[in-house]
């Protein structure tokens, strides 16, 4: 008898399957704000790692540091490439958005823990987070994008100091 029946196996979803099924969950504002908060948190961590590494260059190899910072300004190997500058400028805007959202939504999460009524207004408070985020983000976006309009590619004569200056 013992050989006829085998114990059926229960299905245990793997990490990838759980991730896909989890993202398919219709959790509403709470779930998406949490997910964006997580992703922006990881984004800030990634930036900090890059930032600490490139600042560390100045200690053991100042020339490498200058080279790295020049790349951020769009200059690679002494030549100015405008798509490079645009890419870094827009990435900086993305970084500002990431930090702003994480900071403003972070205050909302703190309120859940320390304000008795915090959980009652989780949807309303997320709308407030979006409003504050946009109020800070729009001026920031203007301040970041405007210099691109006067960037060297729009000037017929590239100034002498652009290729060598640290941005």
């Amino acid at each position: 008898m013992s050989s006829t029946i085998s114990e059926p196996k229960a299905y245990r979803a793997g990490k990838l399957a759980k991730l896909i099924d989890g993202l398919r969950y219709q959790g509403g504002i709470g779930q998406w704000s949490w997910l964006v908060h997580r992703v922006t948190g990881l984004g800030i961590l990634l930036f900090l790692v890059i930032h600490v590494v490139d600042t560390f260059f100045v200690v053991f190899n100042p020339a490498l540091y200058d080279h790295t910072v020049a790349i951020y300004g769009g200059v690679f190997g002494g030549t100015y490439y405008w798509p490079l500058r645009w890419a870094f400028r827009l990435a900086e805007l993305g970084l500002i958005a990431t930090v702003l959202f994480h900071a403003v939504n972070g205050v909302r999460v703190i309120l859940f823990d320390f304000w008795n009524e915090g959980c009652k207004y989780q949807k309303e408070s997320f709308r407030a987070v979006l409003l504050v985020f946009l109020a800070l983000m729009i001026p920031a976006a203007i301040a970041v994008i405007l210099p691109l309009a006067t960037a060297p590619e729009h000037i017929t004569q590239i100034p002498e100091n652009v290729a060598t200056a640290r941005p």
């Binding site: 299905y11 989890g22 959790g27 709470g30 779930q31």
Partner: protein, 257 residues
């Protein structure tokens, strides 16, 4: 109901629906797969009725748990159109679109089709001592409390242990060792009960790396709860009790003493 009725005959219109079920047969399948059924459903049918009709008329191998079918026993929790709910509490008229997608709740091992192994869930429930702890000599009458004291934990008495909240919780999907919202709700029910004396012990159990601090205030539990329990609110009340060391229960009134 007028929008459900046919304007000419006044009869309620039946709806043509597609029922998508995530199937898993432990004896044949390595992984779950989707299967679709065409069915006509009455707008006032529950999703459970639709499932049972398909089981009776089209494919009797569909496996699901159900018992009371009135939203009390909590055995037919499943993910319906992306959100955890009881199949017996959701009416067809409240389903948007022409497809009802039904799959097992996520985070627990799937035994067959919509049936999951609830053991990890109940283990967490048992871990928080979900029973009255009171070492005083039993009184000859009831242990009295004021209406305010009773109201303090009223919301969390409504739990039916269906696991909708725990299996809607991303931290629980990621880590099955997390005690989960349902267990915290049931701990809350006794922590804030003026007749109970085990609050300290329960708070100690929850003050753990796999305990209450894994809650990331995602609010999926609150939106999933078929009983309308404010789960995240209850969890944050327990968190505050742990941070401040104060369990705020209304004072005993003069009448009782």
């Amino acid at each position: 109901m007028s929008d459900l009725a046919d304007p000419n005959t006044g009869q309620i219109r039946w709806r043509d629906l597609t029922l998508r079920i995530k199937r898993y047969d432990p004896e044949k399948d390595r992984e779950p797969h989707w299967q679709e059924f065409k069915i006509q459903a009455h707008p006032m049918d529950r999703v459970l009725d639709v499932l049972m009709k398909v089981k009776w008329e089209q494919d009797d191998s569909i496996a699901l748990r159900k018992s009371c079918a009135h939203g009390i026993c909590g055995s037919d929790a499943m993910r319906i159109n992306g959100q955890n709910n009881l199949a017996c509490k959701l009416l067809v008229q409240n389903v948007k679109g022409k497809t009802i997608t039904v799959e097992p709740i996520l985070g627990l091992p799937v035994i067959k089709d919509l049936i999951v192994d609830m053991k990890p869930f109940f283990d967490h429930y048992k871990a928080v001592m979900p029973f009255l702890v009171n070492d005083d000599p039993a009184p000859t009458t009831e242990r009295l409390q004021t209406p305010e004291q009773r109201a303090r934990f009223d919301d969390t008495t409504k739990c039916i242990l269906c696991a909708c909240c725990t299996t809607a919780c991303p931290p629980f999907w990621g880590n099955r060792e997390y005690v989960g919202p349902a267990a915290i709700v049931n701990a809350h029910r006794f922590i804030f009960d003026s007749r109970d004396q085990g609050a300290g012990e329960r708070l100690d159990i929850l003050n753990d790396s796999e305990g209450i601090w894994r809650c990331r205030t995602v609010f999926n539990c609150t939106s999933a709860c078929p009983r309308g329990i404010q789960v995240t609110q209850a969890i944050s009340e327990v968190k505050r009790a742990l941070i401040t060391g104060v369990v705020d229960i209304p004072e005993e009134a003069e009448v009782l003493s």
